[in-house]
Symmetry: C2
Subunit: 357 residues, 2 copies
């Protein structure tokens, strides 16, 4: 792995060391959706861009917002500013955002012919803007902290591609799963190839760790999760090289053992999982990332510090913990509370380590 070569150039390689389960002086911290609407400077840049999608598709602006949270808080990583649905957009499905709503596709996959025509995009062509954003963000970071790249998981991409939007029950997806599993497998096969190429291209462009967001794998039964989500993530993971890999399945607390054995370096935990249980079940074979309840970010700073200490105590002082939320930051997060959280992670985790005293 190139990781250690890269990490020697980094001023702060705490994240990469924790992902490799090496001892660190403090627990590294970054926050899912750390560049987002809770930050006034983000809203200003977004207004300048005109829309979220325009922002994500303009590399200079994407790099600008990716760095905004680092200017405020001593975070241990930056994450590429992008969307989990760039890949199906590059496949021609037409991603858009209706104001105040989630993502939608203009041309969801509703007939067999469209599914058969589906092809993995060339990331250096249709997704060039993302790779450009990776390069610009790396440049702007100047080796302060590592940059995390990411993609939606093959199954999570398929959910939106079939349903055409978010859903409470993913009814259209489940209809296909039960009536035409062959079509769903065909979509997942293309997605797995596309996500593999996409993540490898991000790494080549400069991403120093990558994360698979399996936001909707948790809506499946245990057997379906293995067949339709995890097996395709395993395929992606086996072909993504030269950077540590983090897998996060929201609602996947029941399947941690098999996620940990999927070929990743770290498993993301949502806030419902008890960290001690997770560590007992998984053992020390992978790092764990998580898992503060994102609702804490609307609480007063002092209360949030208490919750941070609880989470750190629950994970314990053994190497291999990356502090994060159990789900992305909401627009309602308090900036003063986010500041307190990042500060408390550093301060309290140093206290927890006998060697650092």
């Amino acid at each position: 792995m190139e990781t250690h070569l890269q990490s020697t150039d980094l001023k702060n390689d705490t994240l990469l060391r924790a992902l490799a389960r090496e001892p660190t002086a403090h627990t590294p911290v970054w926050l899912m959706r750390q560049a987002g609407r809770y930050l006034p400077e983000y809203n200003a840049t977004r207004a300048k861009a005109g829309s979220f999608l325009k922002l994500a598709k303009t590399p200079a602006l994407a790099a600008e917002v990716a760095l905004q949270p680092l200017a405020r808080f001593p975070l241990d990583a930056a994450i590429l500013f992008s969307d989990i649905l760039t890949v199906p957009d590059a496949m021609g499905l037409g991603l858009y955002f209706a104001e105040g709503e989630g993502p939608r596709f203009e041309r969801p996959l509703r007939d067999e012919a469209a599914i058969m025509r589906l092809a993995a995009p060339d990331p250096t062509a249709e997704l060039r803007y993302v790779l450009e954003a990776v390069r610009e963000t790396r440049n702007a970071l100047g080796n302060r902290v590592p940059l995390i790249g990411f993609s939606g998981s093959p199954y999570t991409l398929a959910c939106y591609m079939i349903e055409g939007s978010g859903s409470d029950d993913w009814r259209t997806v489940k209809e296909m799963l039960y009536a035409r599993p062959d079509l769903l497998h065909r979509i997942l096969d293309v997605n797995a190839r596309a996500v593999t190429d996409y993540l490898n291209a991000q790494i080549e462009a400069g991403a120093q760790a990558v994360m698979l967001f399996d936001t909707w794998g948790g809506s499946l039964t245990a057997a379906q999760y293995e067949e339709f989500s995890l097996s395709y993530m395993r395929r992606v993971l086996s072909q993504v090289r030269n950077a540590p890999r983090i897998v996060f399945t929201k609602g996947g607390g029941g399947w941690l053992e098999s996620i940990a054995a999927s070929g990743c370096e770290a498993v993301g935990l949502d806030w419902t999982v008890a960290p001690g249980d997770a560590r007992r079940r998984i053992g020390a074979s992978v790092a764990l990332q998580g898992n503060l309840d994102p609702a804490v970010l609307s609480a007063p700073p002092a209360r949030a510090r208490e919750e941070v200490r609880r989470v750190l105590d629950a994970f314990g002082a053994a190497p291999g913990h990356v502090f994060n939320l159990g789900h992305g930051i909401s627009p309602h997060a308090r900036v003063d509370t986010v500041e307190a959280i990042v500060d408390e992670v550093c301060a309290y985790s140093r206290q927890l380590r006998p060697q650092a005293r």
Copy 2:
């Protein structure tokens, strides 16, 4: 317990025997929300009543719709036709349903004074219509199968009482939980007393089993689930007498051991839980109820029969399984598929039992 006295009068006591973990000739089956919008006769009665709430509040019509699924399918239980939010409605919060949306309250709990004024209703007064529905449904059933009563759990009631409606993130509830846990505990304390009185009154009126629906406990962290949901359900369960008690926490798969030890006779499993894992973790101390993926109800009947056999195989032939869905029936369920599911549960579970061959 009075259960066995009552069950001797029942023509079909399969459900009560399975809840007591006694051998049965087939696996009993009922379906959450079995009286609902997927049935044309239900929609006709609802149209006659004028609204869902009017239907639930008119005992003769509530009994009529509770019996409708039994006329079509050989189900092993009827369930009271009502709503999980009758208790806060009886507390004066003003339950209503906006067309096409979920439940809402006119007067959600947003200030300390209102929370301090909150009092447990007398079920024989403000909730008399529910007890009347229990009596009318029992009469109409004529001892064919047992009648299940139910309530929302103290925490799930509190979610709607505070938020005023359903929510993706229960932000207002979580704000109170972190900033003023004393107020949330005050609400939960009143709710626990109210739910206890309510379930005991339903049993006195004729309910032969009761179920606590903890629909939103799964949005909590493990420690919060214990403190704000399970501990109050435990209190309710310890004071509900003379009928077997089923507890169902959607998204509670991580906490099955403590749910099973809460003082209930049966634990409901959502569709994401692997039944074999659940049985290994819980042991044979309680019955298990579940857990077909509700999305199967939109699949063709033959496909649904396959999934039923999978679920029955996963639970195994040991006594103590009640077949159900992992969540309520949606309006999109196919009537022919529901028919196939109920038929397959009876037929295939008989085959699984050596003594019944």
